[in-house]
Symmetry: C5
Subunit: 235 residues, 5 copies
């Protein structure tokens, strides 16, 4: 695909197949009990899917379940069971792991880490999720940039992220045609200070400053379900 003409309509590279990722955000009602919730989570894990749980901060939600794997039926089954446990789903995000069109030529281990991530990462318990889209405004329209310009912006954007290597792990999953925004971003970090610094620095990057639209931010701390649910007052 020739990209020399910035005026021409650009042709996107294809995004490869991946796993399903359900981010489920719950408010914990008075009637909720710990046992059935833990059972539902274990059942999902026993079907070869991963489950990450987190306590959330603030009124938006109390409890986050991030579940991922090849089968949307298994993940939807988890969602159905949790809703029968007195948990109220107040927000969610559905996306798929993907290799972005700018990721050509990555080594196999990175490809695998993106398409089949092993979560949660060790020692990175600070948790943040937000969805985002690229802008399509008159003077700042991402989708009218040629592929090379977008690739260069994403490369610079990635460079900011790499400064936080080892401190912040970012998983970007695709949701164009799947949920209301175009991507879901999940951050795991050593501390929330690292999350804050990383997102703040990235905001100055042209890919974010000119072209990003952000949805709600949901923030908390990863932990084992029994500890989290006990902490939230469930018997």
């Amino acid at each position: 695909m020739p990209d020399q003409a910035a005026q021409a309509t650009p042709e996107p590279g294809g995004a490869l197949a991946g796993w399903w990722v359900f981010h489920l955000f719950y408010r914990v009602g008075d009637g909720a009990e710990r046992g059935p919730v833990e059972l539902a989570l274990k059942e999902c894990e026993s079907q070869e899917h991963q489950v990450v749980t987190a306590t959330l901060y603030g009124h938006k939600a109390d409890f986050a379940v991030m579940a991922l794997g090849p089968s949307p039926e298994v993940l939807r089954g988890l969602q159905t069971r949790l809703s029968r446990c007195g948990l109220e789903a107040v927000y969610s995000y559905v996306s798929l792991t993907e290799l972005s069109e700018y990721a050509a030529g990555l080594p196999d281990d990175i490809v695998l880490a993106r398409l089949r991530p092993k979560l949660p990462p060790e020692d990175l318990s600070a948790f943040c999720f937000y969805p985002m889209s690229k802008r399509r405004e008159a003077s700042d329209n991402w989708y009218r940039l040629p592929h090379d310009a977008r690739a260069e912006l994403m490369r610079a954007h990635g460079a900011v992220g790499r400064r936080f290597r080892g401190r912040v792990l970012q998983l970007v999953t695709g949701s164009t045609g799947i949920d209301d925004y175009e991507w879901g971003v999940t951050l795991f970090a050593r501390t929330h200070e690292d999350i804050k610094a990383c997102v703040y620095e990235m905001r100055f990057d042209e890919a974010s400053a000119r072209y990003a639209e952000f949805g709600p931010f949901l923030v908390g701390t990863v932990g084992p379900p029994d500890e989290i649910l006990t902490g939230l007052g469930l018997r």
Copy 2:
């Protein structure tokens, strides 16, 4: 109608008559029972209307009913019966099948497939619905383009869609003056990866990149009502 002058106010072609399409999105409450829901769906089908059902992913809704046919009374009757079964309608979209003004000269079988579609298509169980409008912003105002320019943009847009032929079936139904957006888009696909790739590629197309505004995306999998409702925990 002369379209040579881009400055002149363009005159739209007429859109032909069609069937009614009700997209109904439900949250399943504790009191809901499978029997009455299935009965309501069958009653609608027995009145010569089609019913497609799908499990949905994420918190927005659990259960989708897409019903279509000539009579809004039959479809509203279905809606009324379902609301009496413990299903809570949390979103909906009302539209009509149509031939777009850019569809002149189509062969009869395509015309019929658009105005009287037979749903769901075989072997395409991945489901996606979203409403959309065309922009009317200062520098990106679809409704100020002459007919020929719009037709050319739609032709290019259709070419992206045709690359997914056999993998993604797109049904665009009209809702200007009927519901809050101007069109409803229903996608049936082999896999959700195909939906994601198709919508992503289309976003780079000028008709989308400059002129489209999207509403919420509701995504799931088509299946028979009894399987879906059992899967959602209804007795």
Copy 3:
């Protein structure tokens, strides 16, 4: 008032007095009964006010009551009684019939039809309501156009509407300072196809394409209260 200078702040013509119009949109709960609702509607009619009822399509609301006449007390009285019948008001619009500032020199029968309309019109049972405002954006600011330019745009806009004469009756009622948008638009038509075609064609008109902002669209079919309420499952 001299309107030759497009730069000068334009002076609006005065809009004449009219009747009150309450558009009330209800969701029908389990406890609602037909008898008290019908009684409330009749009581309002017995006080020399008109009442139009419609079944609505989709989840936004089930039942529309459009009531009009000289007394807001009578109309508010109807609203109060209906809310005591198990109907939940989920949306409404309050406006006044008016002669627009562009309507100078109309024949008396048209003036009367606008200020004291007789509703519903015969044989036009397809129903649509939406509120709208004129834009005040930097490059598309209706309220900075001189009166003559606005009058010309409204004349062209009316010409589109006149092509639907006999098939679509449009009632535009004023709500600047009364409700959240500046006008309420009620359409009565032979078919919803006519509503769809009419609103679609008008969208290409400069008055709409550049200057209109639309609120929600509520669509259904006019009918007698007992039929509608029985159809909605009320005993």
Copy 4:
């Protein structure tokens, strides 16, 4: 302060101190009783604060209480008591009476009427409330205009209002840093036609056409609490 340079950041004049104004908008539930509501209103009045009550039109709210005076504790006390009477506060607006920075040199009686208004005005029972802010958009940024330009726009704006003298009384109260918009506007008028005509005419004024952003409009009729509450069906 020298205002000759339009490019310079303008310096606002100071707004003088005033009374608190609570606009409280209630939906009337089934359990509400007239007695306790009237008692709460009287208690507030007995503490040297004014209370204006109004029936509202449409689904947004049923009952408006506009209470004003020097003590936010007294006004918050009224709010607390009313919420204990089965009234549900669905909207509110908190502001302070003020002399605008453009009001220098006003005669004492006008200053007093603005800072310590005596409400409701006689014979002006039509009621309207809406909040508003001044725009800060790229080409229409009120806060980047020099003081003199703003003063001139406000002077022209006031001239439109003065044409309605005796028919419409406008009270503009300040809420920058106090509530979500920058001002609350309360209109008392002979008729709602006068409110509609006044707000419509003002919209063509440059101060509104280019620089105003409006919140929701709440409209009804002022009356004594017992009549209003009886009319709303309270025993």
Copy 5:
């Protein structure tokens, strides 16, 4: 980092670590009791965290709890306990104390006052909270300004604030990547008039006029929990 080239992508200074700040806004239900609420607040204080309580004005919320300290677990524990006391969290904001990138070279006592503030300040009981972000619009994009330009705008902005020294204390806490806006602003003042005047004057400052986007404003008065809760009608 050389900042001489305004076109270059600017590099933000790093923001230093701080304390967690939870702003929790509650509606007080009928079942709420004073004892358990006070106990929960005391428990949090006994774990070396600060708690500020305020009565709020208007329908948005009744009761504000601003709690801060090093441990998000302690603060989330407070949130969980309060939700078990019949208080409904209707809004919240989560942020961290920080030294802004423009704060280099501040004396130690100021640094400490920002990172480990001692709240509430004496004699400043008027309370206001609002979240805000910096704009990223085509012509007003804060994140595309070089560091020096931003620093100069913030310096001028701070000068307005300093005119209110002793009358208004402003605490700006960072929430990029933590909550939906980029900063939370908490004001403590002698009077609400001072809050109103300060926020109004700042709005003319270029940093606000061109570059600020504001969220909701929550306003009330700081006081001891027992007084506040009694005033709100809790037994």
